[in-house]
Every structure is written in C-alpha cells, then in structure tokens.
C-alpha cells in the first residue's frame, strides 16, 4: 500500500499544486496529509470543486479535484459545459466505491457504470495501482498537458493508506 504523503509527493513531482474536493473514506489519508500541509481547499459539492479548480487553472495553477465517484454525477454539467469546451484541465482523483459490487447499495450502480460513464463523456481515465504508480502519474501528466481536458485517476480501496472514520 502507498503512503499518502508519498502519493501526494508524486503528484507534486509532476506539477500538481492546487488541491480541492469533497471527502471520501478512501481519500481520507490523502486529504489528511493535504490539510496538514495546508494545501487543501475544501469544497461543499463536487461541481463547486471542479469550478474552483477551473478558476485556479485560469490563475496559473495545476489543479487536482478529489471526490467519491458518486460526486461525478454532481460534477458532470460543469465538466461538460465548462472544462471540456474551454479546454480547462484538472486531475479528477476519484475513489472507486462499489468496485466489483462489494459496497453499500447506494454505490453499486455508479461502481459498475463509472468507467462506461467516463468513456461516454470523453474523460480519459486510468486506475491507479501500487506497482504502476510512476507510470500512472506520467500518463496523467501527459494526457493533462496534451489534451487540456479533465483526466480521471481512479482509486480503489487499499491502494493509498487512509484514516479510519
């Protein structure tokens, strides 16, 4: 399992310097570290987080938006009618609740359909693994810089250390 601070350092190492989002238990360790480092801007909804990230990008930052995959639904209109048409990129660090059907009932539909949904709305995505973290981050940076659109890195349970609620 990856340590949260190592993963954040990895993100910073490829240029990400602005972090906002809405929490999830899978993202808890990362967010705790970001708060400790005073790097985190808490949002109240995922569409707001994407909008804050867009403003930060306009202001010269390279933004990351953290969210549970349920939040993708909330964020969809901003992603489509702002980011994708204005070529405003961000990294969507999305926790994959409902992976393989092993989660609470409210997560099962999104857990099963998330990658299809991302394909449909033309958001490139990749699933982070411990063994391929370096390659995953390189792919993220490359896609972000070349296409200038939101890129999603999906985070399953047990990849990055978290905190217990």
């Amino acid at each position: 399992m990856l340590e949260a601070d190592d993963f954040v350092k990895g993100l910073q190492g490829i240029g990400f310097d602005f972090f906002t989002g809405v929490p999830d238990v899978i993202l808890g360790g990362i967010i705790a570290h970001l708060i400790e480092e005073r790097l985190y801007v808490p949002a109240v909804r995922e569409d707001e987080a994407v909008a804050i990230a867009a403003g930060a990008y306009l202001g010269g930052k390279i933004p990351v938006v953290l969210m549970q995959n349920s939040g993708l639904g909330n964020a969809l209109n901003v992603l489509e009618s702002l980011n994708l048409i204005y070529q405003i990129p961000c990294l969507l660090l999305v926790s994959w609740r409902g992976f393989e059907g092993k989660d609470a009932p409210e997560h099962l539909v999104m857990g099963e359909t998330m990658t299809t949904l991302l394909d449909t709305v033309k958001i490139p995505h990749r699933t982070l693994s411990v063994e391929t973290m370096v390659e995953d981050l390189q792919w993220t940076a490359k896609t972000f810089m070349e296409q200038r659109i939101p890129v999603a890195l999906l985070l399953k349970k047990g990849i990055v250390k978290t905190v217990q609620p």
Partner: protein
Amino acid sequence: MIGPEEGVMQSRAQAMAAIFELLTDQLLIVCNGFPSREACKLRDRDQNFYMLGSMGAAAGIGLGLALAQPQKTVVVFDGDGNLLMSLGTLATIGALKPKNLIHVVFDNEVYGSTGNQPTYSRVVGLDKMAKAAGYVNVERVWEKEDIVYECKTMLADTGPSFLLIKVNEQLEEADRIALVPSEMTKRLKQNVS
C-alpha cells in the same frame, strides 16, 4: 402604488455599465446567459471571462482564481438564478474569506434568459445569506449612486465582499458570445501570468 425600489431601479446593463466605469485591471468572471452577453457587449476586456454553460459555477470559478492570484482583485458578476443553484458556495467563500474577491449579484428575481420565470430571491434575502455565511462586506443597493459608491468602497476594502444589486427585468439586446471558449481560457491565462 410604486414601491420605493421599483421607481428607481436600474436595468442590469445600466448597473453593469456603472461598475465597468470603475474597473481597471481586475479579473472578471461573468455567469452564463444574458449577463455574459450584456457584459461582452458593454465592455469586452482581456480580463473578462464569460461562462457559456455550467450555470451556478461563476462564484466557484471566481473563488479558485482569487485563491490562485491573491495579488489581483477578482470580481464575479453573478445572477440570482445562478447563485440559488449553488448556495453552498456562499458558505465556501464565507469560510475561506478570500480578501480579493468581490461577488456582485444582479438580482432581477427571474430566470431572465429563459423567459422570466420567477426565482425565490423575491422572498429570500440573498444578502442576508451572504452575511450569515461570513462575507466581510455585504450591501444591498438599487440606485445608481449607491451602486457606484458601494462598488468603489468594496474595490478598496478587504473582502470577501458581496454586493446585491436589485435590478429590473429589462434585457439589453446582445448577441451570443462570439468568442471561442478555448480562446477565452488562453486570453485570461495570458492576462494573469
């Protein structure tokens, strides 16, 4: 009998024009619909960014920009319909307290870009909500002299500031934004770097 506000209320375009007279190098985010069209027609500036879609996102974009560029003043032109869609952002701004953000809401109490369906701002005081959320300066105005006075004061003061401008429903004839969205991104980015 005409109420005290109705007799002297400005159109949104008149109120916007009064504010444009006061702006120098401030960055400006304008919400979608007719507000963007009117702002673009009245005074297109390299520092202007017009939202086409993403209704509700103007204040969030302005907040992100203000946090990323603390040395610059960021102004948001918002609407009552837009703000009501993202009331949570009042809490985010009120809590984070960016000193360089001025949130202007042109409140015509209708969804003016879709045929004047009423909004709740007729009965819900958006200024009171901003005050409760923690904005440092909050004012509610409708007359031109007051718009100018409060806006000048807010441009000089430490924010976040919230200026609720009660306007009438009149729309300015203004075409759709002709700028290409990705060019708007580049234009603003060049202006802040």
